[in-house]
Amino acid sequence: MGYEPQADFGTPRIDAAAEVSLTIDGRAITVPEGTSVMRAAALAGGNIPKLCATDSVEAFGSCRMCLVEVEGMRGTPASCTTPVAPGMVVATQTPRLEKLRRGVMELYISDHPLDCLTCSANNDCELQDAAAQVGLRDVRYGYAGANHLAEVKDTSNPYFSFDAAKCIVCSRCVRACDEVQGTLALTISGRGFGSQVSAGQAGDDFLSSDCVSCGACVQACPTDALNEKAVAEIGKPERSVITTCAYCGVGCTFRAEMRGEQLVRMVPWKDGKANRGHSCVKGRFAWGYAQHKDRIRSPMIRESIDQPWREVGWDEALAFTASRLTAIKAKHGPRALGGITSSRCTNEEVFLVQKLIRSGFGSNNVDTCARVCHSPTGYGLKTTFGTSAGTQDFDSVEAADVILVIGANPTDAHPVFASRMKKRIRGKDGQPGAKLIVIDPRRIDLVRSPHIAAAHHLPLQPGTNVAVLTAMAHVIVTEGLADEAFIRERCDWDEYQDWARFVADPRHSPEVLEAVSRVPAAELRAAARLYATGGSGFGAAQGRKPNAAIYYGLGVTEHSQGSSTVMAIANLAMATGNIGRPGVGVNPLRGQNNVQGSCDMGSFPHELSGYRHISGGATRALFEAEWGTALDSEPGLRIPNMFDAALDGSFRALYVQGEDILQSDPDTKHVSAGLAAMELVIVHDLFLNETANYAHVFLPGSTFLEKTGTFTNAERRIQMVRRVMQPANGAGDGIGKEGLEDWQVTQALANALGLGWNYANTAQIMD
């Protein structure tokens, strides 16, 4: 599509069941109760001038540009702060309003640089648009009076600049930092004419302040005061493509805004269901690697790892790789070959890699980093709930009354979701927020940060997750806090009783386990009661059961007792009836962008796609019929065991897509020894990473900006990844001349092995 800024309805969407009908400029419209007149007008196709209003933050009512007339109402109320009412008749364009708005705009422009033609926001500036909209033609006051035009520009932030001379002090940036991001790094310092946006304390600039560079302020700014440096350098975007971020498991949706083949900026998409228009520094600004000079753009091969690399075309690289794989397989058997899928790649790419290994290499030696980080989630949740995924979407946090965070640090690792969580904890419109329990050895930001304070922090000893959760279960069972009606209706009563007897054993009491966990028993008891009951203030006033949600991360799963901890979490949720409605549940916070998807696609050595065990004859028969080849019925090797087997000589060739195992896997010496022992290591990646030091073949990969497919985020939401630019790995005169997406590389390798794959696009793979 061509470039258009995303529509701005002025004030946030209201989710109310009751509706209100009114008339705006002669047009009848019905909107949810509580909607602002401004938003209603926008929904009716109108466009009331505005400067301080934007639909990512609550109405503020300061700029006085959005004034309207309402029949029967005195004066000219601001449409952003005026809620709709039944039968209301609104006029948004009258001679009186035109005069008022023009007068206000005249004041704004009297203290604003008149350099529109050379301004980086030219034609993408709400101040410019509003001036045109109100028909401002001249400024009666002149420009010689006191003004802010000589203010020094703050260029300290590497991604955006702040130009106070162009700031209209609308507070949109301050409110975005407060309400959307929750960092509260910005403020308006001074009074009256001296008012200006300030980052941090006096003497701070943006870089030295608490600003985390999420970009919410830049997105909210209606002028060039806050603008991306890339826009100033490259120019206004010409088109945009909606795609999904490739960093973490939140799965933020972005508008990739392009000028030709050049990415100008990534702007969070307001309709994104995971991020709801917000972003973090990585997704928003850290995409420079896609066009980095160190990227490898041509395939490379070498006979042995002590030789220099030799750049070749795709045809030669694939033929070299296939001949080596075929020779090793012929000499040592199919179980000498294997590969590793990537949780950074798309579902379709992961599916093809595991298919290549199972049906082409002929073994089940396929593994993934997602097994290391979240297989306890898959196993634990499948055992307890029957499906290997969390129970909620991210929106659910908005309905939580109690939030328990264990083994996760969302503000650092999942910042966009953390912002939503913090918003819920802060509360809104005078209503109390959710109460917070943090179980973590570290004093993470959530324990105490501006307007956030955990009701309970249980600083347990590392390795005692199961002990602490069992002690919480002990309190819930022995103090009669379990939800028996829910358990009888939704769970297995006999199994519950077995569990209840086990956790109620005195040896599992907080007082006994304090010696192991070092969590004060009284604090643990209080946390357990809060989780189960919503706290002493929760009761008849709410007229409903409290909603308690558990969020966990790698502090739970990357332990030898990870599966037991996940099951303990699930048991707590079931025992207290916190499953099956918004605001509750068990929520794994996945690490990489496609951890959930890479597991779903069949990346484990013992399971085919959909978590179906390889030993099942009926399951294998399905895949054998589809793929036209027999499959090994035995589980394959996991990554560490691949290195064990390499050292004993029974594992000799490895295809690694999108993972730097030498840097990311434990026991580096073991990894390097295993890699060095192999006859063939194929690295398929963007950069010449550490693992590539041990590789014989380097296949240049494509970034998420260069490919089409899907990622599955932590909610198990499957989202589209859309190609916005040509893959940068074009090489040779044959296949791959124009560049290849990663799934095309895997398919080309499969075909070099004689498998005869003919997927025309990623949709065919998904189908």
Binding site: R335, N364, S560, E634, G636, L637, D644, L647
Partner: protein
């Protein structure tokens, strides 16, 4: 043959994790885990080992696998 030290450690970890369910269930669970998740050469290696470092539950499980 694969180095058996990591395999013995893993078998003991599995056995210890399942021990809370009682000895019989733990032995059965350990047997099933090894069948479901271990590559054939790993199974062969632990069966061929002297089993010296195995805890009683893991040793019983390996004995059952051998049978």
């Amino acid at each position: 043959m694969m180095n058996t030290a990591p395999l013995i450690r893993m078998a003991n970890d599995i056995a210890r994790n399942l021990a809370a369910g009682g000895q019989d269930a733990a032995i059965s669970g350990t047997v099933q885990h090894i069948r479901d998740f271990w590559d054939p050469r790993m199974k062969a290696a632990i069966l061929a080992s002297d089993r010296a470092g195995l805890c009683p539950i893991a040793a019983a499980a390996v004995e059952r696998l051998a049978g």
